[in-house]
Amino acid sequence: MPNKISLVNVRKSFATAKGPLPVIGGIDLAVEESEFIAIVGPSGCGKTTLLNIVAGFERADEGEVKVDGAPRNGPSANGIVISQRGSVFPWLTVQQNLMFGLNGTHSETDKRAIADHYASLVGLKGFEKGYPYELSGGMLQRVELARALAVKPQILFMDEPLAALDALTSLRMRLELLRILAEEKHTCILITHNVEEAIQMADRIIVLSPRPTTIQAIFDVPYPHPRQISSPALVELKASILREFGL
């Protein structure tokens, strides 16, 4: 099976006043079609930079990034980024936001139908006419997710999508995300600080080292969904991941 995403020896430095600061120190990674990868690592290790490179917003200094065998030259609608701060357009209604990514190939009626479908999928029914500033943080994150799903991207890049939510909302969204992803299979790359979140959602967990970051360890999570986070195997897995951080 060909790899959906492949990274070979990816390196990146930032120019600073004191000379170049190496952020990513050589990463090799292959992600399969519809695989769910979680990336965890210490703060400031370059997780977001890595994601931006794979999503096409930044360029690697060295190495190659390929999606479906083609080099990544810029952002594209086949891989949508969902970030912690969110980028729901506040000047559009929820429905207009969901229709935003749908391009000319759809008729206006189709677009509305697709928007309605994804609005109900993420539990936004009844809020379509509302403006983002009238919604709560959890609701906004749903809009962000639905807008991404509406264009049927092959890849979802999630940059700490649940970190800004309160603990309960975050947990609820995590379970909903799993339910939605079970319905529509996407290749997912999730960046998170939350080891439990990674264990509950991912097929594979990549642990990154401090800056300049490299892959420090890889854990497989070969358990069926829904996963009981308190089961002995997962508790053991969590302990070994935390050991990688020296905890």
């Binding site: 917003f57 609608a77 980024v81 357009f89 506040p90 000047w91 935003f100 391009n103 403006y131 500033y133």
Partner: protein, 400 residues
Amino acid sequence: MRMRSPYRILLVLLGVAVTVTAWAALTPLRSDSHEQVYVIPKGTWARRMAGETNLQILPAELHLTLGVKDILVLRNDDDVPQLFGPVLIMPGQSFSLPFARASKYSFACQLHVSGKLDVIVAPHPEPGCAGAPWRLRRRWALLLWISALLKPKQLVASLALSILLIATWWLAVAASGSLIFPSPWQVVTGTAEIASNGTLWKHIGWSLFRVGVGFVLAVAVGVPVGLLMGRVTLAFTALNPVVQLLRPISPIAWIPISILWFGVGNMSPIFLIFLASVFPTIVQTAAAVHAIERRYIRAAENFGVSRRRLFLQVVIPAALPQILVGMRVSLGVAWLVVVAAEMIAPRSGLGYLIIDSRNAGNRYDLVVAGMVIIGITGLLLDSGMRRLEQLKAVRWRYAK
């Protein structure tokens, strides 16, 4: 024609009062809901059981009016059923009873201590004098509601200060015995004079026309140039020095050049207004585009939208709230400049009114009247622009 009598003002006030009364008496009454709702609050039964024997849950008489409020709705929020005539209203239930004929109806009802409840249904009020008191009562409620919205405390405070200022002005004129500087009353009568012979409206109209044309031209040029400077770095580096150099030059300094180019017709003041308002519009629009958060641009790029849609659906709406602020500033500046421009050029407008009143017989009452009118019109223009900021498409920016 110089009429300085205060009776004219009184006559106008009387006319207004008569009009309001006639309006209240004659216009058809509209009512958004025909339901007159009465609520039986939670805990009333318990309070009665606890010994409050004279507890009145509903008044002894309920008044309804056909065609306005003719459906009686009783909502039971208490946790025991209540009896109204033959009907048992269960907890949480609403019972609605429409009336079609004017009369007095009596119901056996435990909701009033007498055990009886009267519903008096009045006929639909006909237009005319008989209905006037009834209608006025309803209109009066509306007026009271409007005045409550105006926050009476602030209203009183600002009124008090205005009265104090006017009184000081009046006393100062009286004490100094000045023959030229007008008292507030002379300003009022002077305004009434030019209002009644129509010259005031002509001057206001001309000033508004010049500001309107100059301002619209400035927006038509300034917003696109600002957008271009905001998005295209080359345009910004090329144009910004020119804009920054021209911006601090007062439009008044352009008057000689303006006369040279456009003569003393209407084009001169319009050109000066354009100059005054185009630079704030450009600067503010470019700043607005620069201030757009990158996450929005990135999201749009992520969805692979065309440059046209990026511009129309992301850049412009994201910058619009700040562009509106810039337009409000420009309009204020334009209004400042029109008066100065009209002092030199054509024979109309509020600026001309002021200069002409002074030149033609030291009519300082009209000078001050012109100044007051300029202030009021500027205030109205500004509040009109503020209303634009309430639009749904830009309110997200000011909401939090």
